[in-house]
Symmetry: C2
Subunit: 149 residues, 2 copies
DNA sequence: AGCGGATCTCACGCTGGCGTAAACTTCGTC
DNA sequence: GACGAAGTTTACGCCAGCGTGAGATCCGCT
């Protein structure tokens, strides 16, 4: 009796499934891989891409940075690489010197701060926009009242 | 003694000045005009574009729709045209039938609702993103404490 | 009226972010 | 083991959103 060790859907998705989940095309996923943004962590025996949960989360992250914050794919690459390095630190924690850890942690913090500032700026601008839209909605209701009366 | 009646900067900006204010290029302004998005309301005697405050506000609006909400210039055109029609109603108020007014007001309200939903959706996604970033910042502080200790 | 800098109108160029066709292989089900 | 659906690589196509001259014209200041 052999333990299940093989190619069952190990909960890893095929490219088409992953694409559908994230609302993008297969071409887009292959393109992201070409750019080094999202390399699937698994492959089938025949070489087909398999995306696990972490891959999917990364994909969602990419889309957020792209759609919500308006970064281009090059900038997104830089951000992700910075974060990946920090993840490396944690895994090779004992191999890195204290200075290395400090340096990478610092750069991660810098990126984090930048992103938070950007998000906050967007939030503020969106709030302003929302106020304007509500103001307009109010005037529309007035106009409507005029027409009604 | 003649009253100032002529081409003094009437507070209207030249294309380069308007472009700088909005943080775009002259080419961009000319392109927007080509698409019918932003036609300067004045021109110099020689035919040079002059942008007044309303033009500038419209430009800012265009950029917000583009950068904050991610519309392409075609969609932005539709939105602005809808709003322009409503402005027309108000000025030719007596020329429009009640039904026409109702119809245009309704379509303006529809657009307004759509935009508000979109803004709200973006706000929610940004809030979620902000939470994640703050969570990360917290972990970074922990890591830093470990390194410090 | 003349001069430097800003604008004007073509019109072609370019990059990012994929779409898409072609020809071939792999998957998994019967 | 065969067959249709899905996946793979390669490579060219495409559109939005401007960038960038080129060459003529205009602005406004002396």
């Amino acid at each position: 009796m052999i333990v299940d060790q093989s190619q069952r859907p190990t909960n890893a998705l095929r490219i088409g499934e992953a694409a559908e989940q994230a609302g993008v095309s297969c071409r887009t996923l292959r393109y992201y891989e070409e750019l080094g943004l999202l390399v699937p962590s698994q492959h089938s025996a025949g070489g087909a891409r398999r995306y696990d949960e972490a891959d999917l989360a990364r994909l969602v992250r990419i889309r957020e940075l792209q759609e919500l914050l308006g970064f281009d794919l090059g900038e997104i690459g830089e951000i992700l690489r910075g974060e990946d390095q920090l993840a490396d630190i944690r895994s090779h924690y004992r191999d890195a010197t204290v200075d290395e850890r400090r340096a990478m942690l610092h750069s991660a913090v810098v990126i984090n701060d930048r992103l938070r500032d950007l998000v906050k700026a967007k939030q503020d601008r969106l709030s302003g926009m929302m106020r304007q839209l509500e103001e307009k909605a109010r005037r529309y209701r007035e106009l409507n009242a005029e027409l009604g009366g």
